[in-house]
């Protein structure tokens, strides 16, 4: 497609190719030229040969000597009066090499793509698919000259003192054994769950038709399971403490795990579900997943037929399952402090004078079956919470400590590799990393839902824009779970914040299968959460969710962006090497080792993966 003067300027050093037939004698202007963004695909398919092609800045204003057809590369023999190139194109990569060789410069990471599709004001979005798999998540390396680092660091010197807004104490109790018994109780490190509690779970909700409780100890990890609907910490508040403050008691060594099907045997969220042998389908140690060695209190719920893809089915399952967790919570409240194995104090720190950043977490709220309970009374509880869908998916501001104290009870749906389980929020890596980073001032976390309908998506994204605007934030992160539908909101959130002059780092699983379907000019700073080998949604629980390594890259990138430095554009196709380069650059710059997560290749190969993916 023909380009504008602005695009021509941006692509001054790219090849000049006629977009359409142009007649001899004309003066070449931007409208005569094809958009260089599509050349790679054309060259790949043999439609275009750029050998000897002049650059756009060379040909603009020059005279075309003879009539040439569409897609004709402009070479010296058909153009008269070409300008001399301003900076020889060959020099550019060399310059980069030089920069990389300088030992001191801080390099910031980047992953992501600049997509050429504009979303006008978040309205009338055309779902244009970037031709040639732009690999939205692809990645790019950014280099930050030292001056840029200084500009981030400079305010630090005059910064006021850190301020602890509030604290949250976590008291840990260790559990080494889970048994069934006549009553629910904890003796030493043994947790007993009352026999017959299953009947109460079934009776609690009309839609719950059957329920079985299993205790999965590490030797039983190779057990078949229906799809995993949630992984939850077992935690309770002391006294009347609110979520996000005061004292929370938590059991170590054990998690709640909800699995389920409908009466017809259809998985909850069939079409992208994690059923199979547990040890083949769980990415151990992900923030939202169990850690290897933990015991699972696994409840398998059967919901009424055909409610597996409706919101009410999973809601009933989660609500009923919480009866067991709640009974454990009641027991925990009475535990003697002598059983506490570790006490941890989480501080919400504000750093006045530092770059103020906000984390916007997009959570699912399509409503078909995907929802989130927000701010229950107990950590990851049900009572007192409001369903995201019922709140209209509008932004809800929470403190970082509320996030880490289980203010989100997640009802995730299809696509287990990229969905954030309840436990994810309990250990949310970006919140933790930003809270602990002394160079930034994390002002808070905004949860915003991803509604089903486009009009509603833009309704909420505009609220996000205003919310962030009134925070006077210097920078923002926008994270999302899933891919595809939610990327429409994701792009719009970034645009709404970006158009207010606030740099935004976007974080999502993209890679190959989740390549962004929409984009805008503010999506310059993207971090891909992909860990899978092939860049796909491999149905392994939590595989492609946000991990500490992603948080580190995102923060480094936002600092780069806030310093006004450019982040290099993404490569055209997804290239996992870009991420590793970025990680190396950060390690060198900050002198810290970044532990990279393992992916599904570390798990025993499942039949499903063998057949469908690897």
């Amino acid at each position: 497609m023909s380009i504008t003067a602005e695009t021509a300027k941006a692509h001054a050093h790219d090849p000049a190719v006629l977009c359409c037939r142009a007649e001899g004698g004309i003066t070449i202007e931007p409208a005569n030229l094809e958009d260089p963004a599509i050349f790679d695909d054309l060259v790949d398919s043999g439609l275009l040969n750029l050998d000897g092609c002049l650059t756009i800045e060379e040909v603009l204003g020059a005279k075309l000597l003879k009539t040439c057809d569409s897609l004709c590369p402009l070479t010296a023999d058909v153009v008269e009066g070409a300008k001399a190139p301003s900076a020889p194109a060959e020099a550019a990569p060399a310059e980069e090499e030089v920069k990389e060789a300088v030992p001191a410069p801080v390099a910031a990471p980047a992953a992501g793509g600049i997509l050429k599709i504009h979303i006008g004001e978040g309205k009338d979005i055309d779902l244009e698919i970037p031709v040639g798999a732009l690999g939205g998540g692809g990645a790019a390396v950014a280099e930050v000259p030292q001056t840029a680092v200084a500009s981030v660091a400079a305010p630090a010197e005059e910064a006021k003192e850190e301020k602890v807004v509030r604290t949250l104490t976590r008291k840990h109790f260790n559990i080494t054994e889970v048994k069934r018994g006549p009553e629910t109780k904890i003796e030493g490190t043994t947790l007993y769950i009352r026999e017959g509690i299953e009947a109460e779970v079934i009776d609690n909700q009309e839609l719950v038709k059957d329920f079985h409780l299993e205790i999965i100890t590490p030797d039983l990890y190779h057990t078949y399971s229906e799809t995993i609907m949630d992984v939850q910490p077992i935690a309770t508040k002391e006294g009347d403490d609110d979520i996000g403050t005061g004292v929370t008691r938590v059991l170590d060594g054990v998690v709640m795990m909800l699995t389920g099907v409908d009466e017809g045997g259809v998985q909850i969220g069939e079409f992208g579900s994690s059923e199979g042998y547990l040890d083949e389908n769980i990415m151990w140690g992900r923030p939202g997943c169990p850690d290897k060695g933990e015991i699972f209190i696994k409840g398998n719920i059967v919901v009424q037929e055909k409610t597996n893809m409706e919101r009410r089915g999973p809601m009933a399952a989660h609500t009923a399952f919480d009866i067991i967790t709640q009974e454990i919570r009641e027991v925990m409240k009475k535990l003697d402090d002598s059983l506490v194995t570790e006490t941890q104090e989480l501080k919400q720190v504000r750093r006045p004078g530092k770059k103020k950043v906000v984390i916007v977490k997009e959570i699912m709220g399509q409503g078909a079956m995907h929802d989130n309970f927000i701010l229950p009374v107990e950590p990851v509880g049900v009572l007192g919470a409001r369903a995201n869908v019922d709140l209209g998916n509008v932004p809800v501001c929470v403190s970082p400590l509320e996030v880490l104290d289980g203010c989100i009870h997640a009802l995730t749906c299809i696509g287990p590799a990229s969905k954030e389980m309840s436990r994810h929020y309990w250990r949310e890596p970006l919140v933790l990393e930003a809270l602990h980073d002394e160079e930034v001032d994390l002002c808070g976390v905004v949860f915003v839902g991803s509604p089903q309908i486009n009009a509603e998506k833009f309704y909420v994204s505009k609220r996000v824009g205003h919310t962030v605007e009134m925070m006077d934030a210097d920078g923002a992160f926008v994270t999302t779970e899933g891919f595809g539908n939610n990327h429409i909101d994701f792009a719009s959130h970034i645009e709404q914040i970006g158009m207010r002059g606030i740099p935004v780092v976007g974080m999502s699983y993209c890679a190959v299968q989740g390549a962004l379907v929409v984009g805008n000019k503010y999506m310059q700073y993207m971090v891909d959460n992909n860990k899978s080998e092939s860049g796909i949604e491999n149905e392994v629980l939590g595989c492609n969710t946000l991990c500490p390594e992603d948080a580190v890259r995102a923060i480094a990138m936002l600092k780069t962006a806030m310093a006004g430095e450019d982040v290099k554009a993404a490569e055209r196709k997804w290239n996992p090497n870009v991420k590793s380069t970025n990680v190396e650059l950060i390690e060198a710059a900050y002198d810290r080792k970044i532990a990279l997560e393992e992916n599904e290749q570390s798990l025993p190969m499942s039949q499903k993966r063998k057949e469908k993916y690897d």
Binding site: R21, T27, I38, T67, S70
Partner: protein, 466 residues
């Protein structure tokens, strides 16, 4: 003569309100419907009796005797020329149907130059101004296969020029330019002779590409100014008038004649061959079938009947009536059968709407799996007809072809202009896309070259060198 059907909406604007009822006797020129909002008077085109008034039309049973005389328009002695144009119910006869009385209600002397978009006018200085006010007469007759416009220049040049002078007078325009394709050598010569001694009226020769008759293309060709899709010719201190409209203006002023007839071309797969049948002064409201019979009748099986031109016309039926804006009736050869293959549609402002393109795909037995729109096709308001940002100058099409390929199209049907079609051809076939143009069946029928690659220049010399 069969029943005559006068549609209540044959112009841009709201439907008119019928002021006659069943049983009323009408004459040629009897006012039968008046505007309810933007619109133009509608008169009976025949002598006869009103048979029925329905929601969208007045059906008149014609009398056996049809004298030449007509009822003159009802205007006071001292009525202005503009009042006469308004009273006569004249609308843009090139096809758009904008009420001419409204269009001419402008004083070009006092009309300032509009603000030009520098992006599409890179060659003009920022403070570019036109010194004159212009009437631009559209003689492009751009829809391939139609001949009634050129025939009218050849036969009624004086009447057209009279009409143009009235337009100049009404709008205070000091200049007028006829825009005509250079290939129409006979008409150009006749016009040249007629314009001898007319200091303020000139001629601009157009190349033989589509589209040249688009209003803003006429402005650009004659005056060198590119208008945005939202701008009217008044932004270039001009008014564009179709030649047939000009002739109707002359009739209204000189003869007090209401707008009740239309010139048109009937052509296609007809008994006796595919040459054009030009019918002048056909009463508005006559049925398509009657005109096809008058031209010899359909020769065997056919594809479809189009009312209007190959690019912008719509399919029609035998019993539909012609209106003040009907320029052509085309009977086409049969459609090729794509046997349910995947088809992509490239929708453009120059050709049919997406609905029309889908209709053609269906008639070709293709399965539409992808729809792209030319980058320059602008929808000014949701649902409004598309308008081309730079008519006749392609913005590049390869990206659309890539999309079609991605959507697994085997065939594409395009509705583009000459230049854009050429661009589609530069990459489409190489990518393995088989290209049809929405006008192919018409071009095959009338023996016109198919719209594919462009072989002629978009520039023609203004010398009358033949």
């Amino acid at each position: 003569m069969g029943n005559v059907q006068m549609l209540l909406r044959q112009h841009v604007g709201a439907p008119c309100t019928a002021i006659v009822k069943a049983g009323d006797e009408v004459k040629k020129g009897t006012l039968i419907a008046t505007p309810a909002g933007l619109g133009a008077n509608i008169f009976s085109s025949v002598y006869g009796t009103v048979a029925e008034v329905t929601e969208d039309r007045i059906i008149i049973e014609p009398a056996d005797e049809q004298p030449k005389e007509f009822v003159p328009i009802d205007v006071p002695e001292d009525a202005s020329k503009l009042d006469m144009v308004k009273a006569a119910g004249i609308v843009g006869m090139g096809g758009a149907g904008f009420p001419t009385g409204v269009k001419l209600s402008i004083n070009l002397k006092e009309t300032p130059m509009g603000e030009l978009d520098p992006e599409i006018n890179p060659e003009l200085p920022a403070d570019f101004k036109l010194e004159h006010g212009y009437i631009l007469i559209n003689v492009a007759e751009c829809e391939p296969g139609l001949e009634h416009n050129i025939r009218q220049i050849e036969e009624q040049c004086d009447k057209v020029i009279r009409g143009v002078k009235y337009c100049m007078e009404i709008t205070n325009a000091d200049k007028a330019i006829f825009a005509i394709k250079k290939k129409n050598q006979k008409a150009v010569k006749i016009l040249q002779k007629a314009l001898e001694g007319e200091a303020d009226i000139s001629m601009h020769l157009l190349p033989d590409i589509y589209p040249m008759g688009e209003e803003r293309a006429v402005v650009r060709e004659c005056l060198g100014v590119n208008l945005t899709t939202m701008q009217l010719p008044s932004a270039a201190r001009s008014v564009v008038v179709n030649l047939e409209t000009a002739a109707k203006i002359a009739e209204a002023v000189d003869e007090k004649k209401p707008c009740i007839t239309k010139n048109l071309t009937v052509r296609g797969k007809l008994n006796g061959g595919n040459a054009a049948h030009v019918f002048m002064d056909v009463p508005v409201g006559v049925s398509v079938g009657e005109l096809i019979e008058r031209a010899g009748g359909i020769d065997g099986v056919y594809g479809e009947i189009i009312m209007g031109g190959a690019f912008t016309g719509k399919s029609t039926k035998f019993d539909e009536p012609i209106t003040k804006t009907t320029g052509g009736i085309l009977v086409t050869v049969e459609f090729p059968d794509l046997h349910g293959a995947n088809v992509g549609l490239l929708v453009c402002a120059c050709g049919g709407s997406e609905e029309r393109m889908r209709e053609i795909a269906e008639k070709m037995n293709g399965k539409v799996v992808s729809v792209c729109r030319c980058k320059q096709a602008i929808e000014n308001k949701p649902g409004a007809p598309l308008k081309c940002l730079r008519p006749g100058n392609c913005p590049g099409q390869v990206k659309n072809n890539m999309q079609f390929k991605k959507d697994k199209c085997e065939y594409i049907i395009i509705g583009n202009c000459s230049d854009c079609s050429n661009t589609v051809m530069a990459s489409g076939p190489k990518m393995g896309l088989k290209v049809f143009h929405q006008t192919d069946h018409v071009m095959r029928t009338v023996g016109h070259a198919l719209y594919r690659t462009l072989k002629v220049s978009k520039q023609v010399s203004q010398d009358i060198d033949f």
